[in-house]
Each structure stands twice: as structure tokens, then as C-alpha cells.
């Protein structure tokens, strides 16, 4: 582990720094707020000769992702970044990328989807890609956004995985906030991510056909391959975070957990809200309230067994979603958690809190109120309602 200086950096720039250190061969992107700074910095790195890569500004996000697919098939390490409408426009290629087993990393700076037009934080943009066969990781702070970018490349390129990986970070709250960051050295980065090797790479001397058609007699088998690869991403993940811990001193897991072990009630969430909840939980613990917080780092594949294990002894959960499944049972994380609890025979009350849509602020006192609500659910053995839209003026 080489000595490195602690720096102050905003989330988007931290991601760009990690991508540079990962020595990508190609960046293809289309600007969209609030991820633009990521590709802006990368274009500067390329222009200044600090990064030896092709930088392509595509005519749309659909093309940007298509370019990444092609370049990755040629054996390149590729990166793109988008959010919101841009991700929606990529949708078709998102599914092609995972099923064609394309290793690549995409940063998604989570922003709400039109309409009404809004550029602020929400997880509603990635949810339509939830079931696509991509690995989806979520950062809780700027340091995580940086670290997870390396972990994402490593996971993505493993021969037994070969899948695209997204790293999600909250719009503005992380993308545009300056936080403290301890980078890894260029040497450690190079050791962790040696040049990419790819057996199926396009090669004039040994032709191979990618993107073929499969009829009803074989289609399900190819999808079964995808299903297993996504599950393998989950089983090899501990090896990768362990290796990353050796060079960085920072140990990642399927989720961040704060005092969940002996908690009566746990609040679960994706993204930066973990930090707010953690601070509120620390204060409530001092007042004797046995509450804990879990913030998922890996959302897909869903770490079912690990979460179920972490919830042993917990008497109630509140699951917070910064997105909503309209007409369904609640937010996407909530339905996953409830399903996991049910099929593992854990019959504890679980409530869904939908919050922060379109970037609505979520403050410390609100985090405290939700933790208290969870604790009350544990005491009462139930909640008043399944789903609550938090802070809506009604």
C-alpha cells in the first residue's frame, strides 16, 4: 500500500480520477447533468495527455453505449457515464450489453426521470435497468464512488463474470459535493487492474460472430448463462473487495451496516442517505434507542442471504426508497426486502418509506423521525400502513 495524500474533491471528479487511474482505452459519452463533469474531466485528461484513450462524444446516449459495446468486443477497457433521460435512451443497449456479456463500467449519477422535468436526485432512473443483468453498485459517499469504480472494473472483467457494472451515485448530493478522499496510488491501481484480457475479442485471424440470433430452442439457455453469471458476480465479490482492501485499507461488503447487529429495528436504504441515517442513529443510540441502519452497496445481484443474516433478531424494518413502483407494492428495494424476508421465513413487520423524489431534501431530523418510527414498529409489533410517501403535502 503506497502512501497517498488525502485530497478534497467532488464526486464527479473523484469518479473521473478513478477512471483515469483504471487506464481505460475508450470513453464514449454524451453530456447530461449532473454527470457531465465526469466526462468533461476525462476529455481533459485525454487532451492533456494524462490518459492514453480514445474519447468519443457520441450523438446520443444510445450511440455512446453502442460504441462502448463495440470497443469492449475489440478488447478495450471502456467507460461511459449517464443518468436519467440519457439512461432511458440507452435502455435497449443496456440489455444487449449484459446479454452479450460485455465487461464495462458505467457511472449513473442518479437523477429523476421526466416528467415533470427535474434534474435532481432520485433512483427512478436506474430502476428500469434493475433486471437487465447488469451488476448495480451504490455509493454512499464520494470515497465509495471512487473506490467502487475500481471494484466495478475488476468484477466486470473477471472471466467467470464478464458483465457490465454500474456504479450509482446520488445526483448533486454526491456528484457535486466536495468531500475528503484518500486515493490509491497509480502503482496500486495498475496492480489491481492490469491490462484487460479478453478471450472472445474480435480478431481478424480467428473470426467470431457476436450478437447472433437465438431461436426458441436455445434462447432460454443463453439467458440461463446470464442468470448464473450475475449470481457468480455475487459469489466472487468478497474476493475482489478483499483484494481492494489490501491496497486501500478500506474494506467493502455487500452493504454498509451501522449498529444493526443488536438492533430492535433497522432502516434500510440505497445511496447517500445512509450517512444521514447513521448520524441520526448514533444520536438515538446515545438516548438508548436500539436502532440500526443498513445501506446497500450491491443492489444487483441482490445480497439476499447476507441481508437475511444481518436481520436476524431484528423485530421491525423500515425500507426507504428514493424511487417508486407505480401500481405495485411499493418501492423497489422494499419489495425485494419483503420478498427476501418472506421466503426465508422471517415474519417481521416491514414498512416502506418513499422519500426524496426529484431531489426533495431529506434532513437529519427526518432521519431521526424514521428511525423512531422503526423502533415503534418493533415495540408495537406492526406498522399503521405498508407504504408512506414521506413529506408529501396532503
Amino acid at each position: 500500500m503506497a502512501q497517498v495524500q488525502r485530497i478534497a474533491i467532488m464526486g464527479d471528479e473523484a469518479v473521473a480520477l478513478a477512471v483515469k487511474q483504471a487506464k481505460v482505452d475508450l470513453v464514449a459519452a454524451y453530456p447530461i447533468t449532473p454527470q457531465t463533469i465526469i466526462v468533461e474531466r476525462l476529455s481533459e485528461y485525454v487532451a492533456d495527455g494524462e490518459l492514453d484513450a480514445a474519447f468519443i462524444q457520441a450523438e446520443s446516449e444510445h450511440s455512446a453505449l453502442s460504441i462502448c459495446v463495440g470497443a469492449a468486443l475489440a478488447g478495450a477497457r471502456v467507460f461511459t457515464s449517464t443518468c436519467s433521460q440519457g439512461l432511458a435512451l440507452m435502455h435497449e443497449i443496456v440489455y444487449a450489453a449484459s446479454s452479450m456479456r460485455i465487461p464495462m463500467v458505467m457511472t449513473i449519477v442518479n437523477r429523476s426521470l421526466n416528467a415533470p422535468l427535474n434534474i435532481h436526485c432520485e433512483h427512478g432512473d436506474v430502476m428500469p435497468e434493475r433486471d437487465s443483468g447488469w451488476v448495480h453498485l451504490f455509493a454512499a459517499n464520494v470515497q465509495e464512488a471512487y473506490d467502487l469504480t475500481f471494484i466495478a472494473f475488476k468484477l466486470s472483467e473477471r472471466e467467470d463474470v464478464m458483465l457490465p457494472v454500474s456504479v450509482n451515485l446520488d445526483a448533486f448530493i454526491l456528484s457535486h459535493s466536495i468531500e475528503s478522499l484518500i486515493p490509491i496510488s497509480d502503482e496500486d491501481a495498475a496492480r489491481f487492474l492490469p491490462p484487460r484480457e479478453y478471450k472472445l475479442a474480435l480478431d481478424f485471424d480467428n473470426p467470431i460472430t457476436h450478437g447472433t440470433m437465438a431461436l426458441p430452442d436455445t434462447y432460454m439457455e443463453f439467458k440461463m448463462q446470464l442468470k448464473e453469471a450475475v449470481e457468480r458476480a455475487k459469489s466472487v465479490y468478497p474476493e475482489i473487495v478483499e483484494e481492494y482492501a489490501r491496497i486501500s485499507g478500506r474494506k467493502y461488503w455487500y452493504f454498509n451496516s451501522y449498529m444493526a447487529d443488536d438492533a430492535d429495528a433497522v432502516v434500510m436504504v440505497l445511496g447517500s442517505t445512509y450517512g444521514t441515517l447513521k448520524t441520526a442513529a448514533r444520536e438515538l443510540r446515545e438516548k438508548g434507542l436500539k436502532v440500526g441502519v443498513i445501506g446497500l452497496t450491491m443492489f444487483r445481484p441482490f445480497p439476499e442471504e447476507q441481508l437475511v443474516d444481518a436481520l436476524k433478531g431484528v423485530r421491525a424494518v423500515v425500507v426507504m426508497d428514493r424511487a417508486y413502483g407505480y401500481g405495485g407494492l411499493g418501492g423497489q428495494l422494499y419489495t425485494d426486502v419483503v420478498g427476501a424476508l418472506y421466503r426465508n421465513g422471517i415474519r417481521i413487520p416491514a414498512k416502506n418509506v418513499v422519500f426524496g423524489l426529484g431531489g426533495r431534501d431529506f434532513k437529519l431530523d427526518e432521519a431521526e423521525a424514521i428511525l423512531k418510527m422503526a423502533a415503534k414498529g418493533a415495540r408495537d409489533g406492526g406498522f399503521d400502513t405498508h407504504v408512506q410517501w414521506w413529506g408529501v403535502r396532503a
Partner: protein, 102 residues
């Protein structure tokens, strides 16, 4: 894996999701030559050579390149790949082509 064996295995159902090439990426292309897609057809064209005037319209119009052109500009059906669409029969100006059930 050779293209021949891959096509054979798939057609005969001798595969599992583990034996198929990963992500449907096909090594040793082109498997299209091995995959005799003519088996799809329910009707097939027959050319009455005595009527044929060697105009090559059928050769031009066949969407599957399944009319073979001989050196003398006479034509034959390539039954390995002909899908039985009947376009050649429709375009033939002297009605030299008829369709029969297979």
C-alpha cells in the same frame, strides 16, 4: 468447437446451457453454411428447364440466394437453403417454375 458440430448439436438437441458458446458468440463462423435452413420450407419450386428462357429474373429476385446460376445462365434451385417462398415462381415471365408440396 467446429461450426459443423455446433449446428449438429443444436439441431439434435444435444446441448445444455453450459455447452453452448457463451453469450451466443459463435466461434468458427460462418455457421450459416452448415445450417441447412432449407428444412424450414413447406413448399418447394420446381423448374421446367424446357420452358426456361434464361432471363435470370428468379436468380435476381430470390431473397435467399437459393437460385444457382450455371455457366450457361441456366438456373437450378439450391434446396439446401431455399425457403419455399414462391417469389421465383411469381417473377418467372414464362411460368417455368411451379411449386410442389414437400
Amino acid at each position: 468447437m467446429s461450426a459443423r458440430k455446433l449446428v449438429d448439436d443444436v439441431l439434435k438437441g444435444r446441448f445444455t446451457y453450459k455447452t453452448l458458446p457463451i453469450a451466443a458468440a459463435i466461434p468458427n463462423p460462418p455457421t450459416s453454411l452448415e445450417n441447412k435452413t432449407g428444412m424450414w420450407r413447406v413448399q418447394e419450386p420446381v423448374i421446367d428447364q424446357s420452358k426456361c428462357i434464361k432471363c435470370l429474373l428468379c436468380w435476381t429476385y430470390c431473397p435467399d440466394a437459393s437460385i444457382k446460376r450455371r455457366d450457361d445462365d441456366g438456373v437450378e434451385v439450391d434446396y439446401d437453403y431455399c425457403k419455399g417462398c414462391g417469389i421465383c415462381m411469381t417473377v418467372c415471365p414464362v411460368k417455368a417454375i411451379s411449386m410442389r408440396e414437400v
